[in-house]
């Protein structure tokens, strides 16, 4: 069994401060990186096999290689700390428990791509993380891990901490950039606005997730080979009806069943009914899929459209859960968080949620299930960004696995699940 390192110190008192961080080998990764050529740093990250931990799972090293090396071009590194996917809370854990790790990762990443300004786009509600980050940034400046001529390497880096305004869509990378530039968070058109080409202020920009950059700090500190031997690990946010919800560091490819076991098993020993393997944007899986490994490919290859690892937010539900209510709640979330830019997302989510309201209030109609599927079908492949497309997977999966619950609601106007439980 590989050693746990991402979460190793997050609960240690003092880890959020510079002294504690340095006493446990902090900033060794940055020191090492600064002795390497920037391209070698990127190569090291590429070799580690690290894939972005924001949800899309794109290879981090490859992402950095898209940034033009020309030193005459202004480049930025932007940290997506707008963790908002329902069920996901791993970045918050890292931000509050190990903020210097993130700063180290930022400095390494910025050095690798040649950015002299980096931005942390922090979720508005993370007040504690903000306080800790502010302190950590000040400490890092004082200790010359940031600022001019970092550790006498000749490399300069300024890090700006910015907060969002409470919109889930700002977690989408181009909407994040719009918001960071001071505008309404709405996603940009790709092409031409790929962040690596035309990102923040129209300059090439590397956008990385908090966890990803923490991995980077470890990779540079211990080397790519060591990192690969560790699994590699990922952080899985396990929530719902498990005995011990929380963030768990498990090797990529751990099965859903094993992950639930790691979280103490099902709450009260009740039978497992369903789960979201990768946050509310992924499809819902039934007990038949419990032995699926939690890795990028295995989940994506299932016969359930929209199944994915995403941000590895495992939301577990036991048999006392009404699936109609779960999906209704999910739809409501996307209804409220749709930015309003494109038609199918803006109108499809409100329509779906109106139909769900009717069903849950006992005025469902026989053809409502076709209507739900039809409205969802119109949203698939037509939305501007992934937000709207996140609705159909869980809806369709629930219609497939738990259709009888919908039918019961429509037929009787009441829920049979809780009665049983």
């Amino acid at each position: 069994m590989a050693e746990s390192f991402l979460l190793k110190y997050v609960h240690d008192p003092g880890q959020a401060g510079l002294e504690g961080y340095l006493s446990r080998g902090g900033y060794e990764g940055l020191r090492r990186a600064l002795r390497m050529a920037p391209a070698e740093v990127t190569e090291e990250v590429d070799k580690s096999g690290l894939r972005g931990r924001g949800g899309a799972g794109f290879a981090t090293g490859r992402k950095w290689k898209f940034i033009p090396p020309d030193p005459g071009v202004i480049k930025y590194l932007v940290v997506n700390a707008d963790e908002g996917e329902p069920g996901t809370f791993k970045d918050r854990t890292l931000l509050e428990g190990d903020p210097h790790r993130l700063i180290e990762g930022i400095a390494i990443g910025s050095y690798a791509i040649g950015a002299h300004q980096a931005f942390i786009y922090l979720r508005r509600e993370f007040h504690r993380a903000r306080r800790l980050l502010e302190r950590a940034l000040a400490q890092a400046y004082d200790a010359r891990f940031l600022g001019r001529n970092i550790q006498d390497s000749g490399f300069d880096l300024e890090v700006v901490l910015a907060t969002g305004a409470g919109a889930y869509i700002a977690g989408e990378e181009t909407a994040l950039l719009e918001s960071l530039e001071g505008r309404r968070a709405m996603p940009r058109l790709k092409p031409p606005f790929y962040p690596a080409v035309k990102g923040l202020y129209m300059q090439p920009t590397a956008l990385n997730n908090v966890e990803t950059l923490c991995h980077v700090a470890w990779i540079l500190a211990r080397g790519a080979d060591w990192y690969r031997q560790q699994g590699p690990p990922i952080l899985i946010s396990i929530s719902g009806h498990v005995a011990a919800p929380g963030v768990y560091e498990l090797p990529l490819g751990t099965t859903i069943r094993a992950a639930i076991d790691a979280a103490g098993g099902m709450r009260g020993g009740r039978p497992f009914k369903a789960c979201f393997p990768g946050g509310s944007s992924s499809a819902i899986l039934s007990p038949a899929y419990l032995d699926t490994p939690m890795d990028y490919d295995a989940l994506a290859k299932l016969d359930v459209p929209g199944s994915m690892l995403g941000s590895a937010a495992l939301i577990v539900m036991d048999e006392a859960t009404c699936m109609v209510e779960i999906v209704a709640r999910t739809v409501e979330f996307y209804r409220d968080e749709s930015c309003g830019k494109c038609t199918p997302c803006r109108e499809g989510t409100i329509w779906l949620s109106q139909v769900f309201d009717r069903i849950l209030h006992g005025t469902g109609r026989g053809d409502d299930l076709d209507l739900l599927a039809g409205v969802a079908r119109g949203m698939m492949g037509t939305c501007f960004c992934p937000l709207g497309e996140s609705v159909p997977p869980s809806l369709n999966a629930s219609l497939r696995f738990f259709r009888h619950e919908y039918e019961h609601h429509i037929r009787t106007g009441a829920c049979d699940v809780r009665a049983v439980a």
């Binding site: 869509i169 092409p191 309003g340 494109c342 038609t343 989510t349 109106q354 119109g378 492949g381 037509t382």
Partner: protein, 827 residues
């Protein structure tokens, strides 16, 4: 960018289509005549991809694609008719319609509504929607022009993007999110825009409507008549929509060379004066001290007799509001039958200003503004004077052009101006001279001409000299300034060094047509000097023409005041409010034996006339007009005039017949033909410009030193008089929307000066010069420098020309009208 792009092949619906690289699939299809429905895409803005209506299927691409955002690639195979394309389009229309009120029968847009048309053509036909539709309070007033119906809005973002991309005024923005998204103004204040009418034009539904047009007509009631807006000098092409004999609304008519597809709000909403009840319907003569209605016969008789007795001591002022043909016939009549060269359309000319010394108009085409790399605005308040030209310059800015502005007032477009040198009034020439390194010996390091810092000057100077496609525009705030002549001199030097010519942004309406047609004391038609053109005029007209140049407008007033003029004939102008110095007009009128006014309204000047002829306005006329770039455009009569009002040239025909020298034209075409024989190159849609100003510019005018005499004491503030797009003149005060937009007449003053006088923003104040005063509303802003105050002209009920005393530099003081200093008025 001018490189011819490589052609690529795409297949759309089985047809091979060759298009240049980087063409979108939507445009490629359109080129082949294949229609793809769209809402959010507008071809004057970059693609957005928000409405998701223009879906197509592309081979080898998994999901449906939006054709407005997708660049065609070589070998791409596209279907616009595949079953899943239809399903997708139906889904989008269904989504758009579920929360749309479907109140088409009472919607202004009904009948010309893209949503209605596309739902009919591409929609599913029946709805599966049984829920409650989105419910918003409506309508929402967003200012004097705009009304928003949020339920009808399909959130295509066109109006928001118009303000961000085309006009740069950010007038409308998106608020809330998701299904609660709505369009509103920043801080929900009334719309701050001069171009908001365009958002109504490009709204694909009836969400944005105009207060002036709500429930007035259905599209099919309207007859569209081609005309040209002649408020400012841009000459935007318009459609006047007419129902019965009423203009119901104005729309932009596509004219790539001038306004493209846009108008300003003055153009959209300034036409209401045409149908006003107080239009003049019959001729008036003064009888026992009062103006009374009379017959044409009698009025013409009286005027003809006076012209005969004047024997050449007659002057003609105005002519800039009619057609080219009106102006030509007026000029011909005056030079022959009246025997006088005292002809001048420049009613508002100051006696010793640079405006008198340079020919008005642009030397470069309007369209070239968009390609300029450096744009100089010297005393030119672009958005107040020639608003639609700003839209061209905005395009240049978007392409990286640098604007250098040298003005005594910070311009509204300030945030797009890289080098904005805001100077004290009266020293603009010094700033301009410094800009080209022509520093006078008086200036030392650290000194700042007009308060402009050295480093700002140097940066602007470097930018100026780097220009490869310059556009140099001088406007009235420089031309009519005390140092206007020196400013023009400096600008001509700038132009010489940059190898360009100066654009003189002076003149409104059809003043350029008036100048072209010869309504100048020293010029024959076609911008020929009178001594050169005289022989041709005599042989064409078969009558003698006096050779000596006549008097200019200010000289005519001086002559009248001296008793040297027997008759003044004013056409489509109101010198009482328009001349720079009201006292000169009053003196001239008092000494003048006979005043004839030909106008649509009983203006202040007309009230003092001996005979008033009722004239038609441009919307009632057919003929041609010219704009600031000298382009000749056609206007067609949209409505019939009131009562017995006539064309200007028809009135002149009556007079000349009475004088025994008939000018019997059958219509405007015959006049135009006569003009064409006289003016080479005169054709519809061609440009004829005056010679560039540097040919024979006379810089021996009054020097700034002679006039810059700081006056402290009782009148410590320098008065700047300038233009405001929205004012309350003879026409605009009678167009309710414009009068609303204009609001009360105002004075702009610096916060320090306001504080010194105990004045707060919005206070009722009095501005006084030595001998006159006007009551105004204060606007406190650092857009002017300390010591300067700005008052707009054009508010006829509060004529600012009362304050002037003949000197281009006018000193004033300002005090709060309310007894309690610092109160915000409001009573």
């Amino acid at each position: 960018m001018t490189d011819a792009k490589a052609l690529i092949n795409v297949v759309i619906d089985g047809r091979d289509i060759r298009v240049p690289q980087s063409t979108t699939v939507y445009h490629a299809a359109k080129q082949a005549g294949i229609e793809i429905p769209i809402f959010c895409y507008h071809d004057r803005m970059p693609p957005l991809g928000a409405c998701r209506m223009c879906l197509v299927k592309v081979e080898k691409m998994g999901r449906l694609q939006t054709s407005c955002t997708l660049e065609a690639a070589d070998g791409m195979v596209v279907s616009t008719t595949a079953p899943d394309v239809h399903a997708g389009q139906e889904a989008m229309l269904e989504y758009l319609l579920v929360n749309h009120p479907l109140d088409c029968p009472i919607c202004d847009k009904g009948g010309e509504c893209p949503l209605q048309d596309q739902a009919f053509r591409w929609g599913p036909g029946r709805s599966r929607f049984v829920e409650v539709k989105r419910d918003f309070a409506k309508p929402v007033s967003l200012g004097p022009v705009l009304v928003l119906d949020r339920e009808r809005c399909i959130l295509c973002w066109r109006c928001v993007r118009f303000g961000e991309i085309i006009a740069g005024d950010d007038a409308l923005k998106g608020f809330e999110r998701g299904f609660a998204s709505e369009i509103n103004t920043p801080f929900t204040l009334p719309v701050q825009s001069k171009f908001i009418g365009n958002t109504i034009a490009i709204c694909p539904v009836g969400a944005l409507t105009a207060k002036s047009y709500r429930f007035i007509a259905r599209p099919w009631d309207n007859r569209a008549v081609s005309s040209v807006c002649t408020f400012c000098g841009v000459g935007c092409a318009v459609h006047l929509d007419v129902r019965g004999n009423t203009i119901t609304r104005v729309r932009a008519r596509e004219q790539p060379a001038v306004n493209d597809i846009w108008l300003c709000d003055l153009g959209f909403y300034g036409q209401a004066y045409v149908g006003r009840d107080d239009r003049l319907r019959r001729p008036l003569v003064r009888r026992d001290g009062a103006l009374v209605e009379t017959s044409w016969d009698e009025a013409v008789d009286v005027v003809a007799r006076q012209i005969r007795t004047a024997g050449g001591r007659a002057g003609l002022l105005g002519g800039g509001r009619g057609t080219n043909e009106d102006a030509y016939v007026l000029g011909r009549f005056f030079r022959t039958a009246a025997g006088s060269n005292h002809i001048d359309h420049r009613v508002d000319l100051g006696p010793h200003t640079a405006s008198a010394a340079v020919p008005w108009g642009m030397t470069m085409p309007i369209a070239d503004l968009a390609a300029a790399d450096v744009i100089v605005l010297a005393g030119c308040d672009l958005t107040e004077e020639y608003p639609v030209l700003w839209l061209r310059i905005k395009q240049a800015v978007d392409r990286g052009a640098t604007i250098i502005a040298i003005t005594p007032k910070r311009l509204e477009i300030g945030r797009f101006i890289v080098h904005h040198l805001v100077h004290r009034y009266g020293v603009g020439a010094e700033v301009l001279a410094a800009l080209i390194g022509g520093r006078t010996g008086r200036r030392r390091i650290g000194q700042t001409p007009g308060g402009v810092p050295d480093d700002a000057l140097e940066a602007a100077s470097a930018a100026l000299m780097s220009a490869s496609r310059p556009a140099v525009l001088v406007g009235r705030l420089a031309l009519d300034a005390p140092d206007g002549v020196a400013a023009v001199d400096a600008l001509l030097e700038v132009c010489r060094r940059l190898g360009t010519s100066l654009n003189v942004m002076r003149g409104k309406g059809n003043e350029f047509g008036a100048a072209l047609a010869g309504m100048l004391p020293d010029h024959a038609p076609g911008y020929r000097r009178l001594e050169e053109g005289r022989g041709d005029l005599e042989s064409a007209w078969g009558e003698p023409v006096a050779g000596a140049p006549g008097l200019s407008a200010p000289d005519m007033l001086a002559a009248a005041a001296r008793g040297d003029l027997s008759l003044l004939y004013v056409v489509g102008a109101d010198p009482a409010t328009a001349v720079p110095d009201r006292r000169r007009w009053t003196a001239a009128r008092a000494a003048l034996p006979f005043l004839v006014v030909q106008d649509a309204f009983l203006t202040e000047t007309a009230q003092a006339a001996d005979v008033v002829f009722p004239a038609l306005v441009i919307a009632e006329k057919s003929g041609t007009v010219s704009n600031v770039e000298g382009r000749i455009q056609r206007v067609e009569a949209a409505v019939q005039g009131p009562g017995e009002a006539r064309n200007d040239w028809e009135i002149i025909s009556l007079l000349s017949e009475r004088l025994g020298r008939p000018l019997a034209y059958s219509g405007w075409e015959e006049i135009f033909d006569e003009m064409r024989r006289m003016i080479p190159g005169l054709e519809i849609d061609h440009r004829i410009t005056a010679r560039p100003p540097h040919d024979g510019f006379d810089a021996r005018g009054p020097t700034p030193e002679a006039r810059v005499a700081p006056v402290a004491g009782d009148y410590p503030l320098t008065l700047i008089i300038g233009d405001a797009l929205f004012d309350r003149g003879a026409m605009t005060a009678r167009s309710p929307t414009i009068a609303d937009l204009a609001g009360e007449p105002w004075v702009l003053l610096h916060p320090d000066d306001a504080a010194a006088a105990g004045i707060a923003d919005g206070d009722a104040v009095v501005v006084e010069s030595a001998g006159a005063s006007v009551a105004l509303r204060s606007r406190v802003s650092d857009a002017v420098r300390r010591g300067d105050v700005f008052v707009p002209r054009g508010f006829d009920a509060t004529p600012v020309n009362k304050l002037t005393d003949g000197d281009p530099r006018v000193m004033v003081r300002i005090r709060a009208l309310a007894a309690v200093a610092g109160s915000t008025g409001g009573t």
